[in-house]
Symmetry: C2
Subunit: 364 residues, 2 copies
Amino acid sequence: MARVRTAMAAADVDVLLLSVGPDLPWLIGYEAMPLERLTMLVVPADAEASLVIPAFEVPRVVVRDELFTVRAWGETEDPVDIVAQLVGSASRAAIGDHTWSRFLVGLQRRLSSAAWVAAGEVTSPLRAVKDEAEIARLQAAASGVDRVAAALQSGEIPLVGRTEADVSAELSQRILAEGHAKVNFAIVASGANAASPHHHASDKVIGPGEVVLCDFGGTTAEPEGEPGYCSDITRCVYTGEPPAEFVEAYAALQDAQARSVAAAEAGTPAEAVDRVARDRLAEAGLATWFIHRLGHGIGVEAHEDPYLVDGNAEPLVAGNAFSIEPGFYVPDTWGARIEDIVIATAQGPVALNEVDHDLAVVDR
Amino acid sequence: MARVRTAMAAADVDVLLLSVGPDLPWLIGYEAMPLERLTMLVVPADAEASLVIPAFEVPRVVVRDELFTVRAWGETEDPVDIVAQLVGSASRAAIGDHTWSRFLVGLQRRLSSAAWVAAGEVTSPLRAVKDEAEIARLQAAASGVDRVAAALQSGEIPLVGRTEADVSAELSQRILAEGHAKVNFAIVASGANAASPHHHASDKVIGPGEVVLCDFGGTTAEPEGEPGYCSDITRCVYTGEPPAEFVEAYAALQDAQARSVAAAEAGTPAEAVDRVARDRLAEAGLATWFIHRLGHGIGVEAHEDPYLVDGNAEPLVAGNAFSIEPGFYVPDTWGARIEDIVIATAQGPVALNEVDHDLAVVDR
C-alpha cells in the first residue's frame, strides 16, 4: 500500500478505485465478486482506504494490517453514490483496468469534473517486478503444470479417440489437483485445429497421426487473504510418428524458444527478445506463420506487463516474470507452440518450467 | 440486431460498443476472450457492424446471417485506435456494461466530444424478455441442476467428513456433466458458514448435525455460435435430524418462497414480490435475518434485469425469467435459502426447478 501511494503521488493521482480484476487481490488479498453488486476499494492519496462492499459479503473479507476499513452497503443503497461521496473533489482518479464500464459511466456522471486514467498506470509497473515470495508462488504454479505436461508426454493421459473437450476436462481436473484454485484455460487443439492459437477445445475426436497442442494454466490456491499466482505452459505431442516436415519445423521452433529464453536478460529491450525468436524462425522459413507476439508478463493475472512484442522498447528488469512462447500456425494443416514462464534475474534468465521441450510421440 | 437498432434509436444512441460480457454472445453468438487484446463489436446506428478482433482469434468466429464484418488487427496495431476510427463522430456512444474500464478510458481520450452511456440501457430491456427458444434453454439448464440437487437430497453425494471445497468440486463436475459448458459458482456452506450468503466453499469439514446450504449454477453448452443460458438453484440438506427451531424456521422459509413464486405474475411490481416473502418471514420473526433482495433476472447472464428488490416498482412482464430465493442468516449459528428460477407468463408464474423443496435429511 505504501508503494502504491508513492506511485499515485508520482502519477498525480488523487484517488485510486479498484474493483474486479487482479489489482485488488494483489493489494489487499481480496477478490471482488464479478457481479452487479459493486465492490470497490477507494484509496484516497491522503486518507484511509475504504472497501465499499455488499453488506452480506462482509464475512468474506479478511482485513490485514489495517490496510482499509469496510463500508458495507445494504440492498436498497446505491454503491456508486457511496463511492462518489468517498472520492469527493478528487481532480484525477485512477479506475481499475477491469472495472465494469457501467460503474465508470455512473461515477463519471456523478463526478463530472474529475479526469480519469487507468489504474494500471499506477499499479502495473509495481506488479511487473516480483519479489521472492511471488517468484516462489510462480515456481510452485509452474511445477504443478509441469507435472500435468509430463503426464501428457508419457502417454499417461490417452489422446487418440477422445474429443479435445474431454482431454481439456481432464487437464482441468489435473490442474486443480496440482494446487490451483481455478483453471484459466485448457486449450487442446489437434491436427488442423492447432493452426488456431486461441482454439479452445472442440468435439473433434483426436486421431492418430496428429499434433496435439496443449496450452493450459490456472491460478494457485493460497491461504485466505493471499492472492493466487498464475501458471501457463504449452507443450505439443504427436500421436504416432510425425512427418519429417513437421519434425524439422518443430526443431527450429524449439531452438527459437531456447534462444529467446537465453536472450531474456535484465536490461534487454522486450522487443529484442521477440526479435530473437522471429529471426530464428525466419531462417527456417517459418516467420510468416509466427503470427503473435513472443510473450506476456504473468503474476496475479494471466497476462500482464511486460509484453514481449515488437514496439515495446522497455528493457526487462530483474524480477520480471513472463512467458516465452513462439509458435507456427499453418492454416488448415497444423501448428505448434512451446511456452515456458521465465524470470529475469540479476544472474540471467531462469525458466520456471523444466518439463521436456522435445516433441513427445505417444502411441495412444 | 434489428431490435437493438430500434432500441438504439429510441435511446438516441449513435453507436453501440460491445466487448466482454453477455451482450455480445446474446447478440452475435460470440464471446470475447477476457484478455488484454481487445475484441469489440462496433454497431453504428446507420452502418454495418464490425467486429474488431485479434487476427489470430478470427478462426474462433462464426458470422451468422451477415450480422457483421470482421476487422482483424495485428499484434503491433492499437485496437482502441481502430475502434475510435469506426466510431467516428458519434455524439452519443453506449459502452458494454462489462467492458474493461481501461478500454473505455482509452476511447474517451480519443473521442473527447462523445457522451457515454451504459449499453445496458439499450440491451437490458430486450434481454429481460425471453422468447420460447430462450425459455427452452433455461428449462434445460434448470433440469440439469435439479438432477444435481436430487443427488444431494438422496444422499448419493456424501457430505459428512468431506470438506466444503471437496463437495463443491463434485457439484461442479456434476454441473458440467449435466450439459453445462461452465460452472458459475458452487457454494457449499455448512453450519455457521451458511449464515454468509456468498460464502463459497472452505476447507471446513462438514460435520454431523449441520445444515449444508448448496447454491450452484452454470452456463449451458450450446452449438458454436449460440449463447449459453444460466442455471441457478439453492437447496439445503441437514446431516442428521435437525433441531425443532431450525425445522420451524425452514418451514416458514419454504412457505415464503412458495408464496412469492405464486405472486410473481406479469403485471405485479417486482418489489411487491419481494415484499410477499419479507412479510411472511416477518410473521415468523425472521425478517431481520433476510438480508438480501428476493431475486434477480437470469438469462445469458447469471444476474440481470429484472431485480426483485425493494425500490424496483417496474411491473414484471411475460417472458421475464428470474430467481426467487428468500433466505435467513443467523450469524455464527446457521442459515438457509431456497431458490428456484421462475418465468412470468401470460398464464401465471412457472417455476423451472421442480426438485423437492423440503429440507432433506441425510445420514452421511
